[in-house]
């Protein structure tokens, strides 16, 4: 359950509420361990919520990193089954432009097949028939099993499953130190209080370096910033990639009704990670490259720009982010640094989250002297249970689309439950109540991650006061509505300001007139 603090003693404490931590908490809970997950902010607030939302087939890595590619395709198949409600099986297309080489395409197809990834070459005509928006200058195309995944839903589903199997979650509390006895880690310190555990797992993305330092170990990490743009339309059905060595802005991922273009890759200092924003130069670079994939991007409204930080672990002295290992890094600090009770799991990809969790949990079990098999690859996540077929009432359909079978436990019968609070995304009061109750939502930004409230084309201009009123009521603090609005608008502004022109500036002028008194 969601707690403010805990006096229990746990088998394992996991630090970090991103996808790695959430998946690890789920695995530990499914294996019957007494589990606690601690997150300093909201779930999915770091790199897990600031990426493409791409379920890799592994094709992108087949040429340069076959091991990573094999992990991807294997996990891709598992997640399609266990997390079906979070995934849109769009398929992917790798296009070759005249400035790229068809020789590379040949090498690419062979590498994919060696890794067990279905890769089928199709003619440019066939590619344009499937995807009329791709660059008509293309000279080759390859179909691969890429897909679109909603990372927010995937984190939620893992957390829900963990909680339903007895795990506890503490949000909005930062770990400030470790309980130590004879140099061994015996738990965590949260400001004034401490919580004991037999094992502690750091799964905090780029912040793992800092946490390991607190625990007495050193991990050489390199924050690599990736910026992305969200466009106000879904321009393609499939994920579109460039068939060349991975570079900037060469992936366009359709998600719900928008398209996400990214990314850049730049080394940034650690202090920048706390408030990471996309810059004007990055926006220009993304657009400049992105129109080679889909020319229509040049005239499509950009809703916002955002950035995340990849947790790269430095294996050598490489200078730029793209060559440093993006593979899974599991550190046994007992073996490595002589610190008992401490494990770090980092690196990896959204696509390989379940595998990372399995590896970390295997190690936890080994340390605890337990032999319990992992079942996360077989058991479906909440929301992805098979639903009885039949017609859902209109006001429930958007919730079913977002939460799958979880929508069936939302109370749509209560008075006013079907009232639409956010029109763009068709979010109802029932869905808001569910999110507060099941996911520990406190702010509109939290609510947005779990329901898509305010994520549509109006970015909250029209609905946000109404959302705030309902959320404040459900939270039992009706006088806090204004504060909720202010906090939310600042956050939206962060993503709107770098792309402030055209219709987005029109929207901004309206937003300022309505909400800035």
């Amino acid at each position: 359950m969601f707690l403010e603090n805990s006096s229990k003693e746990y088998d394992v404490i996991i630090i970090g509420g991103g996808i790695t931590g959430a998946a690890t908490a789920r695995d530990c809970a499914l294996r019957g361990l007494k589990t606690l997950l601690v997150e300093r902010g909201d779930l999915c607030d770091g790199a897990s919520g600031r990426n493409h939302g791409l379920l890799h087939s592994g094709a992108r890595y087949a040429v340069t990193d076959p091991e990573g590619a094999r992990e991807c395709i294997s996990e891709n198949r598992i997640l399609r089954r266990i997390a079906s409600s979070c995934i849109d099986p769009t398929g992917g297309l790798f296009i070759t432009l005249p400035e790229d080489s068809l020789e590379y395409q040949e090498k690419f197809i062979k590498a994919c097949r060696d890794c067990g990834i279905d890769a089928e070459a199709i003619t440019p005509e066939e590619a344009l028939r499937l995807e009329p928006a791709v660059n008509p200058r293309l000279i080759g195309a390859v179909k691969v099993p890429d897909a679109s995944v909603d990372p927010f839903r995937l984190v939620d589903a893992n957390i829900l499953d963990a909680v339903r199997h007895g795990a506890d979650v503490i949000k909005f509390r930062a770990v400030t130190g470790f309980l130590k006895e004879n140099g061994d880690v015996r738990g965590i310190v949260l400001g004034g209080s401490s919580i004991r555990a037999r094992q502690v797992v750091i799964a905090a993305g780029i912040w793992s370096a800092h946490l390991a330092e607190l625990g007495g170990a050193h991990i050489d990490m390199m924050p690599s910033k990736g910026s992305l743009l969200i466009f106000g339309h879904r321009l393609t059905r499939m994920v579109i990639n460039r068939c060349r060595k991975p570079g900037n802005a060469d992936i366009l991922v359709p998600g719900d009704v928008v398209s996400v273009l990214g990314t850049t890759s730049d080394k940034v200092p650690f202090e920048d990670c706390e408030d990471i924003r996309a810059t004007g130069d990055e926006v220009s670079l993304l657009l400049q490259e992105g129109i080679n994939l889909v020319p229509e991007l040049s005239t499509t409204r950009i809703i916002r720009a955002y950035a995340g930080v990849r947790p790269l672990v430095v294996a050598d002295k490489a200078a730029s982010g793209r060559n440093v290992s993006r593979g899974i890094v599991l550190l046994d600090h007992e073996l490595r640094d002589g610190i008992k009770g401490l494990i770090t799991i980092t690196g990896g990809k959204l696509t390989t989250c379940r595998l990372m969790a399995e590896m970390a949990t295997d190690l936890v079990c080994e340390k605890l002297g337990l032999k319990i098999p992992c079942t996360t690859a077989e058991k479906r996540l909440p929301g992805s249970k098979v639903r009885k077929s039949g017609k859902d009432p209109v006001h429930k359909r958007a919730a079913v689309g977002r939460h799958g079978s979880e929508a069936d436990i939302m109370d749509f019968n209560a008075k006013g439950a079907g009232e639409i609070i956010c029109e763009c995304e068709q979010v109802t009061r029932a869905e808001i109540e569910y999110s507060v109750k099941n996911l520990g939502v406190r702010s509109i930004s939290d609510l947005r991650r779990h329901t898509r409230v305010g994520m549509g084309t109006c970015q909250g201009s029209f609905c946000i006061s109404r959302v705030a009123k309902v959320l404040a009521e459900v939270l039992g603090t009706p006088d806090k509505a204004d504060e909720l609005v202010k906090d939310y608008l600042q956050e939206r502004w962060k993503g709107m300001s770098p792309v402030l022109w055209g219709d987005t500036l029109r929207e901004a002028e309206y937003m300022h007139k309505v909400h800035r008194k």
Binding site: S284, Q490, S497, G502, L505, R506
Partner: protein, 207 residues
């Protein structure tokens, strides 16, 4: 079609100017394309807001003898050879029918109402391609604090002291800007109304 004055824009500034000019017996035409930012965001509850709802304001002007073209907008203008005088303008709905007047009021608002249009590299004024004051560095268009005054709000058309629009450095002697289309400090509702009145007074002095 010939009028004494053509007012472009049916928001607070345009309606105020048209009201003053019609009150002084001028033959006025007003083009009101859509909702102005003021009208789109004004709550419907207060009596003042109801009196100035776009529908009742435009109806009141019609009753005063102003020819109101609802849902139409001026899209093009012909200037004299030296660029110092608007000769005629054209509207979207009336096509190539020339619209002639002694003086013109540009009250098209800012970004929301498309009086000023922005793109990735800059901004422009779409009817006359008038000179627009703006910040060339996009990174300086906004303050990172949503609630702070925003630099983009100061963008707008350049005018002389009499409020006449400047294009290519040349003052257009019969084109007066009013309301949010103006460059400089963003105007309050009262400021918008008084800029509409000021444009009307200037026009009556000269035209």
């Amino acid at each position: 079609m010939t009028y004494d004055i053509i007012v472009i824009g049916g928001g607070l500034a345009g309606c105020t100017a048209a009201d003053v000019l019609a009150g002084a017996g001028k033959k006025v035409a007003l083009f009101a394309e859509g909702l102005s930012l003021h009208d789109a965001t004004e709550g419907p509850a207060s009596p003042k807001a109801q009196a100035r709802s776009p529908y009742s304001a435009l109806s009141a002007l019609s009753a005063k003898g102003v020819t109101v073209f609802r849902g139409d907008s001026i899209v093009k203008a012909d200037l004299s050879d030296d660029g110092s005088h608007v000769v005629r303008v054209f509207s979207r709905n009336l096509g190539d029918e020339p619209l002639v007047a002694g003086a013109f009021v540009l009250a098209t608002g800012k970004f929301f109402s498309r009086g000023i249009i922005s793109y990735m590299g800059g901004v422009f004024e779409p009817v006359f391609d008038a000179d627009v004051e703006f910040e060339p560095d996009h990174g300086k268009w906004f303050d990172t604090d949503f609630f702070a005054p925003q630099p983009y709000e100061r963008f707008g058309v350049r005018t002389d002291e009499a409020g006449r629009v400047i294009k290519g450095g040349i003052i257009i002697d019969n084109l007066y800007a009013a309301g949010q289309v103006l460059a400089g400090e963003p105007l309050s509702d009262e400021g918008i109304e008084s800029s509409g009145r000021a444009a009307a007074m200037e026009i009556m002095k000269k035209w």
